[in-house]
Amino acid sequence: MVSVATLSATHGEAISGYSYGFLDAISRREIRRALLKAVAIPGYQVPFGSRELPIARGWGTGGLQITLSLIGPGDILKVIDQGDDASVNAQNLRRLAEKTSGIETTTETARATIIQTRHRVPEERLRSDQVLVLQCPIPEPLRRVEPSTSVARRMHAEGDYSRMWLAIYEDIVRRGELGGAAGYPVLVNGRYIMAPTPIPRWDIPRLDMAECLFLIGAGREKRVYAVPPYTSVVPLEFEDYRFEVESFPGQRCARCGSGDSFLDEVNLADGSRLFTCSDTAFCDAMQQNEEVVRW
């Protein structure tokens, strides 16, 4: 990774009046330091001074600050929103990074060095030279059982997770199965319970022992955390109530015909419905009959 000092020396200001990658050098440095700490303590939420950006908090500012603090010459950036490269939000974030740093962008998962994502992990397997930056609305997995942040932090420090397990037990009693659709809580490296951001259950197994680095940013809540490569990530489950990913029995993608990707349901005007791949880059590749390395 190129140092901040080198970047300022060699690239100066990409566009007049703005620092390289929008953030000033000191901000970049602070966010990188927080990220180093996050990588060193997998699953631990590191506080950081969330900056003002030209987008509103809650629209991906945490992920964007990570991305902007990491990008440098030679990086290729991909931004997706629920798997989609073309959504308005993804486009805006990508253009901001492009405009303020001049780096190359792509929609191809395999080409990207940094992928910023909202609520999905790509269908294509990520490599050790790739970083997945996840946007996160609520970084605190204990919030549903403990409203106080300081108490929740103490619970993390002491590994005091029986109330979290109790909440899952109560879900089972109430519904007869494990609760929660997106953002299912996981135990990272056998130590910290972590909110995986609202990714579907489908994506949870991909976090476990992955080759790539996962960086997670919550701009509004001012926290970053990380899952380093080859780190165990285990969903909270009981011996007799196992975690299961979503299934789409009998459904295939209406565009590419794929039967083993995460599908979005589309309701049509005539009341019928069809399913398409949530990951549009993967869907395109399948339509082109390209080789795609899967998880």
Binding site: R154, E158, G159, D160, S162, R163, W165, L166, Y169, E170, I172, V173, F238, E239, D240, Y241
Partner: protein, 279 residues
């Protein structure tokens, strides 16, 4: 008894306020006060020592403000004592005082090694979690990860404490006081703790329910050989449950011995008063 004590407490002192050198000398039953005249600190209990043997029930009796609940709250670590040591044989083989436990060890002590039944079920139960979940919380803290087994154990203890099994998945917030208390007892006992602490467990229940709860505790205690400390101002509770009894007044232990002995042949003037007023 030839066994080693399961719990051994020495020099337990709890003072509210800054305290001074005169506190311990100027308070106690001899002075008939627990407020230090020199500095105004309140001596909740001072230099309390006790041994509890496996399978034994120790009663602590005394009037309000005698310090009996403070002893119990210190043992369950709701309060931090000013000085003293307490060794539980199942915690670091009885070589580390429970009051030197780390935060993590404290949680293990409270959730696994000890069980507490408070006078008010609100203090011991989470009323917005199902009865089964309340019991399950302690099992989960002990790393139980099988819902079927947790529910089987919860059902077993709800059955023993005579809570209808069909109420297992209901919230205790909607239970009667007596039933809440029985759920709290089931919760405290369900993971077979080394030490059970009962704080005025029948105060606040009506007489017929009191009898039921006491029968229940005595029955489970006998069957499982639990080691119990029971605190009460009610001599009939002590008479029914306790093998040995300690009498406290103004933060000090004034008399102790076999329950029958203490209640039938009280030696200390205060105990005599207590026994005669109860009769």
């Amino acid at each position: 008894m030839v066994d080693e004590p399961i719990l051994s407490v020495r020099g337990l002192t709890k003072i509210w306020g800054r305290g001074c050198d005169a506190c311990l000398d100027q308070t106690g039953p001899a002075h008939n006060r627990n407020t230090c005249p020199a500095c105004g600190a309140i001596v909740a209990c001072a230099d309390v020592a006790l041994d509890l043997y496996p399978g034994e029930v120790l009663g602590i009796v005394g009037e309000s403000g005698s310090g009996k609940s403070s002893v119990l709250q210190c043992l369950y670590m709701d309060l931090a004592p000013n000085s003293g040591e307490a060794f539980l044989s199942t915690f670091h083989s009885g070589r580390k005082s429970i009051w030197e436990a780390t935060m993590r060890e404290r949680r293990e002590l409270r959730a696994i090694l000890m069980g507490m039944v408070y006078q008010n079920p609100r203090d011991g139960l989470n009323l917005m979690v199902t009865a089964g979940g309340n019991i399950g919380e302690r099992l989960l803290a002990a790393d139980w990860r099988h819902v079927g087994q947790i529910r089987a154990r919860a059902a077993d203890y709800l059955h023993r404490t005579e809570v209808p099994i069909e109420r297992m998945d209901h919230l205790p917030a909607y239970f009667s006081g007596g039933m809440q208390q029985r759920v709290q007892i089931a919760k405290a006992l369900a993971n077979s703790p080394s030490l059970v602490l009962l704080d005025e467990l029948t105060t606040g229940l009506d007489i017929s329910v009191q009898a039921g709860v006491l029968d229940l505790v005595r029955d489970i205690q006998h069957r499982e050989g639990l080691s119990v400390i029971v605190v009460s101002h009610d001599l009939s509770v002590i008479r029914l449950l306790a093998d040995r009894t300690m009498v406290m007044k103004m933060g000090r232990v004034v008399e102790s011995g076999l329950t029958d002995q203490v209640l039938e042949d009280p030696q200390h003037a205060y105990t005599q008063l207590l026994v005669s007023s109860a009769a």
